[in-house]
């Protein structure tokens, strides 16, 4: 089994509320429920998944295999913020390799992606993010950053950001 759940009591309360709202709704609400739960908990641990499985009345293994399938769901701890850098052809042509390198250097992680040692930020090389006209492009959580330059990375990902 992977890392155990470490939630604050406000997080627990928020999770309870979500589970209450989805109770008995079945598989058709599994994805919405996972999205909402993860927005509170950061990643989807075994305890949370067990509670989701019970609330929705969906088999445990289905909750697990769904999380395993979709790249936006995590069943392992990730950084508090997630940087997704597009490296598909249009962004690549516009210099995304430099952006990836700058992010990796800033966070002290591998250029294939990873989480900074302080657990603050996770870097992911993400398939085309659908912003090709603003290449090179990256997202920090829900925020879009188009035409990004390597020199901006320290500001975007630095301690204070």
């Amino acid at each position: 089994m992977t890392a155990a759940r470490t939630l604050t009591s406000p997080q627990m309360a928020a999770l309870r509320q979500i589970l209450q709202r989805y109770r008995g709704q079945g598989g058709a609400y599994l994805l919405p429920c996972l999205h909402e739960a993860q927005a509170v908990t950061g990643w989807l641990d075994a305890d949370t998944c067990t509670e989701i499985s019970r609330a929705l009345n969906v088999p445990l293994v289905q909750v697990h295999e769904v999380i395993e399938f979709y790249t936006l769901f995590y069943n392992e701890p990730v950084g508090r913020r997630i940087v997704r850098v597009c490296d598909d052809p249009p962004c690549f042509l516009a210099g995304s390799s430099e952006i990836v390198r700058a992010c990796a250097r800033q966070l002290g992680v591998d250029e294939k992606g990873g989480t900074s040692s302080d657990g603050r930020v996770t870097l992911e090389i993400h398939p085309c993010l659908g912003r090709c006209e603003q290449a090179p492009f990256l997202m920090i959580d829900d925020d879009a950053h188009g035409h990004v330059q390597p020199a901006q990375i320290p500001d975007l990902l630095g301690e204070g950001a």
């Binding site: 088999p59 293994v61 395993e68």
Partner: protein, 215 residues
């Protein structure tokens, strides 16, 4: 009113068959053998292995014989060059990825189609796991030998047992059969019915006795 029988042609041989049967069944009526791997007569045909593909005149792609049903005047080739290339390549790619040492039928097929898994090089990625999972008194799971035919997942779920102990990790080449958070079998919903062991075509799932004492 649907006609009681329809005319189809398989490998140049015209025959009358009942409507709605699969290409695989129709071929058997014609005395033509089509290789299968994932197909199991008592399970839902998911047509995942694609070894049974055939050429159907007018179709852009090849068609899986285990799941495709015949239609009137279908003209089907079960052993054309195109079909053989697909089957051979699938077998080669499989043998380059998975340990088929306990799957003599597949080894024989590979030989029959003249397949050479070494074409992909010695550094081709294989699906390997750290050892055999022996976490319960009844059976072992040796996923180096798993071809991902889906049969075990199906018998554990809606096709037979409705136990839902087995599912998938990852996707694409990195797909694996797994339990909830990779828990050992005794910690899952598994009821040790043994159905999964019974349907495994490659020796990835084995009864403990067979695993320990062979045969």
């Amino acid at each position: 009113m649907p006609p009681n029988e329809i005319w189809i042609t398989i490998d140049g041989q015209a025959l009358k068959v009942p409507p709605g049967i699969t290409i695989l069944e129709a071929a058997r009526l014609a005395g033509v053998e089509i290789p299968t791997l994932c197909y199991h007569p008592s399970l839902t045909a998911n047509a995942v292995c694609r070894l049974c593909v055939v050429e159907w005149r007018g179709s852009r792609t090849l068609v899986a014989a285990c799941a495709g049903t015949v239609r009137p005047n279908a003209v089907i080739l079960t052993n054309s060059r195109r079909v053989r290339t697909a089957r051979r390549t699938i077998l080669e790619m499989l043998a380059a990825s998975v340990d088929l040492s306990d799957a003599p039928d597949l080894q024989a097929l590979l030989a029959e189609y003249g397949g050479d898994p070494n074409r992909f090089g010695e550094d081709a990625a294989r699906r390997t796991f750290d050892g055999v999972k022996a976490d319960n008194p009844f059976y072992v799971r040796d996923y180096d030998k798993c071809v991902l035919c889906w049969r075990c997942v199906q018998v554990c779920a809606d096709d037979v047992q409705h136990t839902y102990a087995l599912g998938f990790n990852g996707r694409g080449f990195h797909t694996e059969i797994a339990t909830f958070f990779d828990a050992p079998m005794p910690d899952t919903t598994c009821v040790f019915c043994g159905n999964c062991v019974g349907v495994c075509p490659t020796g990835a799932l084995k009864g403990k006795r067979e695993y320990l004492w062979g045969g």
